[in-house]
């Protein structure tokens, strides 16, 4: 379970939000909404441990995430604005390295399966630099399917995706939620993910 207690975040001396409290249980989806500059990305980076909160704590199963360290990283997956695709690696190699870093012994099989699911099999042997923006985004999202992280933190996952791919990603998210996973996401697009327990947070600048 992810818990946020009295959280306040700053960006360059400016207080973005404060007194934020919420918790996320298995199977729950959280939309983070707000205008540009309201601190959505900062909140997401704080949730995954890349940024420090000014006040308050982020806890996983009752323990502060910084104290959990790698144990938390094993259960959480963050996909930010940047796709994290190496130009000089092929799509397959990009995923394989991610799998190896996550410590999977069968990272090659996992990478192939993830590529198939994201309909990127045709691009598997193409280097990252020739992929289109949409293909890169799909390759970034294919990381979700590599492993078994419980908590997915996604910053604008649908940007640059076409209608069909958006539907595919929606299905992936719904399945994850049905299997007891958790998703935190920001999006500017009108996307409906079928979930019994979707919640919204509005950040106001």
């Amino acid at each position: 379970m992810l818990e946020v207690v009295d959280l306040a975040c700053e960006r360059g001396e400016r207080r973005l939000f404060q007194g934020l409290n919420f918790s996320l249980k298995a199977g729950e989806l959280l939309y983070v909404l707000g205008q540009n500059g309201s601190g959505k990305t900062t909140l997401l980076r704080t949730l995954c441990g890349l940024a420090w909160p000014a006040v308050g704590e982020v806890r996983w199963d009752g323990t502060e995430i910084r104290r959990l360290g790698d144990e938390y990283h094993r259960k959480m997956l963050y996909i930010g604005h940047l796709n994290g695709v190496k130009d000089d690696f092929t799509a397959f190699e990009n995923l394989r390295v991610t799998g190896q870093l996550a410590g999977y012994a069968d990272s090659e099989e996992r990478a192939l399966a993830a590529l198939r699911r994201m309909e990127l099999t045709a691009c598997a042997e193409l280097p990252g630099k020739v992929l289109s923006q949409g293909q890169r985004r799909r390759l970034a999202l294919a990381r979700l399917l590599l492993g078994d992280s419980r908590l997915w933190i996604l910053d604008e996952p649908f940007s640059a995706l076409d209608v069909k791919s958006v539907e595919g990603v929606q299905t992936v998210l719904s399945e994850h939620l049905d299997n007891g996973g958790m998703v935190v996401l920001t999006t500017h697009q009108e996307v409906e993910i079928t979930s019994r327990r979707a919640r919204h947070i509005h950040l106001s600048a």
Binding site: C48, L50, R74, G80, K86, Q100, L101, G103
Partner: protein, 222 residues
């Protein structure tokens, strides 16, 4: 943990092999800087023999500085650095892997070509061996210390100049004892003391630099 270390080393070596031009520029820079001195100073053998070790070492220092910019910036720009920091592996180990790969592509070639360049300075075979030994012990220290500087200045404007100002003063002891080892061999004092000191720099750098660079990366990413 070993699997993670090997994974990062192989990853960075593969990337370097696909961008061979970057690797070769460092090596050519080293070769040219070292070769310019005999042309500028003139063919006076005694002067050259005196200058040789110092020139090779200063050139190695500058070549190592030149390649530092590539250590983390590529991963920072395309976002894979975030993956490394958030990977369920100790960041210190991953950073050590990156430094090791960096040394293999930018430090080791300098070590291997140094004896050839040393010939231009009329160094004896024994002195050339000591030069190679001192570079083998010294260049990893340069990569390790440089990694901390590169991590601290990541994403800053004018980071390249800043990293030189930050790191070059810390390279001074390595330069003194590295070049000193060859001098000691030439003058007949024996290089053991200098080489031991270089080894003594290497051990703590190997232990602390990856850890410090890891923290610097966390700060830079925030």
């Amino acid at each position: 943990m070993w699997a993670a270390l090997r994974c990062v080393v192989m990853r960075d070596l593969t990337l370097a092999m696909r961008r061979r031009a970057d690797v070769l520029t460092t090596l050519f820079f080293f070769v040219i800087v070292v070769s310019l001195f005999p042309l500028g100073v003139g063919p006076e053998m005694d002067t050259l023999r005196l200058m040789g070790p110092g020139v090779v070492w200063v050139a190695a220092l500058l070549a190592s500085m030149l390649s530092l910019g590539r250590l983390f910036s590529g991963d920072y720009i395309d976002g894979t650095l975030e993956h490394l920091v958030l990977a369920p592996q100790p960041l210190t180990v991953l950073v050590l892997g990156k430094i090791a790969a960096h040394w293999l592509v930018s430090g080791l070639p300098l070590v291997l070509i140094a004896p050839l360049l040393g010939l231009q300075y009329g160094l004896s075979t024994d002195a050339l061996w000591v030069l190679v030994l001192s570079l083998i012990l010294g260049t990893p220290v340069l990569s390790l210390i440089g990694a901390v500087g590169a991590a601290l200045t990541l994403g800053l404007r004018g980071g390249g100049v800043l990293v030189s100002l930050l790191v070059l003063p810390l390279y001074i002891p390595v330069l003194i004892f590295g070049a000193g080892a060859v001098d000691a061999q030439v003058t007949g004092l024996g290089p053991q003391a200098h080489l031991s000191l270089l080894g003594a720099f290497l051990v703590p750098a190997l232990v602390f630099a990856p850890w410090a660079a890891g923290w610097a990366l966390r700060i830079s990413l925030e």
